[in-house]
């Protein structure tokens, strides 16, 4: 027992799963996913030293993340992706996924607005365009691929913050009562 208490964890380097595996997209329909993928391509193309959203796996990550999100967020994404595709079909008779840069610009640019923290635009489609833009940027800049690229060009590891681990979670609380329900208000719904 005392020997066990003195034992220290050996140094065994560990890796992130993204270095060896990918997430198969499974939530969005093929058309919606293709639209999201095209949005990733145009919102965040590769920089000189940094990967594109596509290379950073932003679309696969968002497929997973939105698939696990509350209904309201899923609905916003599904309706928004449908609307983007429908607008493109209406204007150019071509799916958004196959639209060229000029056609994409005509569909997207009218809906881009400047906004500040916690207060994206209220109109539903404008809100979607600006939030999906933010989400794609975040999923890209915070990706393992982005961090690898930063380190490769001699930059400091990006996005370092002070992380709080779970603070002594209560045993019985989580086992027996962790599913107590509260009324949820979506994060973007305001006074």
């Amino acid at each position: 027992m005392e020997a066990m208490a003195r034992f220290h964890t050996p140094n065994i380097p560990v890796s992130l799963p993204d270095t060896v595996a990918v997430t198969d997209a499974s939530y969005f329909t093929p058309v919606r996913y293709a639209t999201l993928l095209r949005l990733c391509e145009i919102f965040m193309p590769a920089g000189d030293d940094y990967p594109s959203a596509t290379k950073a796996g932003a679309s696969q990550f968002l497929d997973f993340y939105i698939g696990a999100s509350p209904d309201e967020q899923q609905t916003m994404y599904n309706n928004g992706l449908d609307r983007v595709n429908a607008d493109c079909m209406k204007q150019f008779n071509i799916p958004f996924a196959k639209a060229d840069a000029k056609q994409v610009d005509a569909v997207i640019r009218p809906h881009l607005k400047g906004w500040m923290n916690d207060h994206p635009p209220r109109e539903a489609h404008v809100r979607f365009i600006n939030l999906v833009h933010r989400d794609i940027r975040t999923a890209t800049i915070n990706s393992p691929a982005w961090a690898t690229a930063a380190e490769a060009v001699g930059e400091r590891t990006p996005g370092v913050g002070l992380y709080w681990h779970p603070i002594d979670p209560g045993i019985q609380t989580w086992v027996n009562h962790g599913v107590a329900q509260a009324t949820h208000t979506p994060k973007q719904k305001h006074s």
């Binding site: 992130l16 999100s69 607005k113 400047g114 975040t138 915070n142 681990h165 019985q172 009562h177 208000t185």
Partner: protein, 523 residues
Amino acid sequence: MAEKKVDVLIIGSGHTGGLAAKILTEKGISCTMLDAGPMLDFDKYRELKPVHELPYRGFDAPGRLPHVFQSSEFNANQWVDEKVVPYYHPPEQPYNWVRVRSVGGRSPFWGRQSFRHSDYEFKSKDHDGFGENWPISAKDLAEYYPRVEELFRVTGHKDGLPQYPDGNFIEDNSPWSGAMQRFVDAGKKLGVPVTKPRSALGKDGLAASLNLMLPDAVATGKLTTIPNAIVRQITADKNTGLADGVVFVDRHSHREMVMKARVVIVAAGTLETTRLLMSSEICNSSGALGHYLTDQIYGAGIICSVPEARDGKAPRGLMGGGALIPRFRNLETKTNGFLRGYAVNVSCSNGPFDARALPFYGKELEQKLESYNGSGFSTNIMGETLGHYENHVTLNKQVVDAWGMPTLNINTKYTTNETNMSKDYIDTMAAMAEAAGFDILVKNYEFNPPGYSIHEQGTARMSDDAKKGVVNKWNQSHDMKNLFITDASVFVSAGWQNPTITMCALAMRASEYLAEEMRKGNI
């Protein structure tokens, strides 16, 4: 085990519970402090991590903490999970109840803005006719504010403004940056004072009860601290009607424990305090318990760019620094459309520009960001909201938390007073920014839901009249003279100020009053 009766039982270990413990133990009075959460271990529970190593790339777990806008994947574990301690609000009346449960309460995480109240707040009814006056004035706290400011090590500049009382500051004589000076000058032309921020430096990077108050109490040898003790009920002596202890539940095992006390101080944080009093069915002969909930509006603001700072051309000293605009409306003149007033936090940034403020995408956005980095200028409102009787909480016995305690229904909403205040604020800030030569990129009139500021106040307000308030001017219950409430639930009106310094001044005053009453044998 023999039942022990403790001298003073303190429920909650945040700023005001911690201050009560410090004052009382230093006067030789034994205190036992209960906190519903675990002891914090900063070495064990925190570490620097890159965001790409977090499970959700910084987004946090889907659907977690929907009411805590301040939450990120980095800090999500510090907040109370509303699935464990639920509350209800009507769908059309959102309320963001932002809570922490660990020893020290919310005190390790506060924003540290440190302001005194003035008689524009304490005597607000005399000034504009709304609500009630506090039963105290600024004069009653004159002895306590400087001691609290010394404890917190407040830095600031003396401005000589009656609505922004000066204090015992570590003097801030730093010069304005060039851009900030332009904003100051623009304010002067419109009668808007732009002043230096006032902020608690604390010690070693922290301004919490954990490091500023509790160590002094521990050093007396008279403080017993018990974490993981969730108080379910304050008990009363059937013969005297006085508080005589508590029933609490161990957070881990759910074992129920009974504890006896001569005096009870409730410092659980505004709405937790009120929930406990309601659950205990005490301190409500006035009918005021749970009513007059108030706070401040946050979230509305403008984002600007300083043109001369773009493309990396900012001359040295042009950018950087912050400012505070104290309330300037409805002081000597009356503004149409709203009562009371607002303060403004102003920030001038050398850092990266917020991409959300720029309506571009792809390489064009990257080029814009490269140009705009280091040119940011923004403002954020802290506006007083009105504590209407209808803004209230009730107990929901049908829905209990993980420890079997009834939960709260929170019914509160803002009115045209707040909407009109926000409009005046944005229009005024935009006029100043334009006069200063800044490019305004975003004007956001929309403010966050009630609760967001984490400055919830009222629901157990103080009054000289036992029919109008829960406690008297000494923070002492009208119904139980051996029960004191030291948190912001006793506030009569919100003011525009961050409430911490006033909460602490009141807690210090109440604790010294209590100690004297105990010495005299009155309690």
